[in-house]
């Protein structure tokens, strides 16, 4: 008989400004989350695959006002519908973690201005095997782009 599955650990948060390594670390420490690689995290040996995605603001963005041509950005301004955005983010995180039997799922998304080259989105997925981790990551990002009320506004150079 398979042992009962531990519930997934889920951390989700909307961050003001870019997701810097320091902000990320402080947030995760604050929520008591540690990477599987640290023996002090989840019981060693359960997690076999850790996937991490970072979304970074690119310099070139298509401008609707310029016939879809790519123009240079300074930054993106992320507008969130609060507190619905954070609640939808958390609810999506829980659903995906549960559905794929993940050990943990961490997601951080920026609100407000994020300059070109800075990180606006982080997703970490930990699971026993690689296939679920990859599937969960793709599905999370697709549904984020459908259901979480966050809009981006280009700040042109």
């Amino acid at each position: 008989m398979a042992p009962p599955r531990s519930p997934s650990v889920v951390v989700s948060r909307v961050i003001d400004g870019p997701v810097t390594p320091k902000v990320e670390q402080d947030t995760l420490l604050g929520r008591g989350w540690k990477p599987a690689r640290d023996a002090s995290g989840s019981p060693a040996g359960v997690v076999g695959a850790v996937l991490r995605f970072e979304g970074i603001v690119r310099r070139g963005e298509r401008s609707e006002a310029h016939g879809g041509e790519e123009r240079d950005l300074l930054a993106l301004d992320y507008q969130t519908y609060d507190p619905m955005a954070e609640r939808e983010l958390h609810s999506l995180a829980g659903k995906i973690a549960d559905q794929h039997g993940l050990s943990s799922l961490v997601t951080l998304h920026s609100r407000g201005r994020v300059a070109v080259g800075e990180v606006s989105f982080v997703l970490i997925v930990e699971s026993p095997h690689r296939a679920e981790a990859l599937a969960a990551m793709s599905q999370f990002i697709d549904r984020l782009k459908q259901d979480v009320p966050i809009w981006k506004k280009p700040v042109w150079r």
């Binding site: 979304g55 609707e64 992320y78 507008q79 519908y81 507190p83 619905m84 955005a85 609640r87 998304h109 989105f121 990002i141 984020l144 782009k145 459908q146 259901d147 979480v148 009320p149 966050i150 809009w151 981006k152 506004k153």
Partner: protein, 84 residues
């Protein structure tokens, strides 16, 4: 009655405002508000090509079709989002 609808993203930019008002009958539903938005605010049609394609949040939760809108509800038009 009148219903105030919050706008975000490109919809807010196009209307140059974070909210618009629509006039609907008594005891309106989500469907009625979407139809009124489409009808009464042609500038929003770039994001709301038909009433059926629209999506509302009522009191910060997605709500559909026959869901009633009551006085005092917070209503928001959730056009194409763009996180990630």
């Amino acid at each position: 009655m009148e219903v105030e609808v919050l706008l975000f993203g490109a919809a807010a930019t196009r209307e140059n405002s974070g909210r618009v008002t629509v006039v609907v009958g008594a005891e309106p539903t989500v469907r009625d508000v979407l139809a009124a938005l489409h009808e009464q605010h042609p500038d929003l049609r770039f994001a709301l090509p038909s009433a059926e394609t629209g999506r509302l949040a009522v009191n910060q939760s997605f709500a559909r079709g026959e869901h009633p809108i009551r006085p005092g509800d917070e209503v928001a038009l959730i056009t194409l989002v763009g996180g990630g």
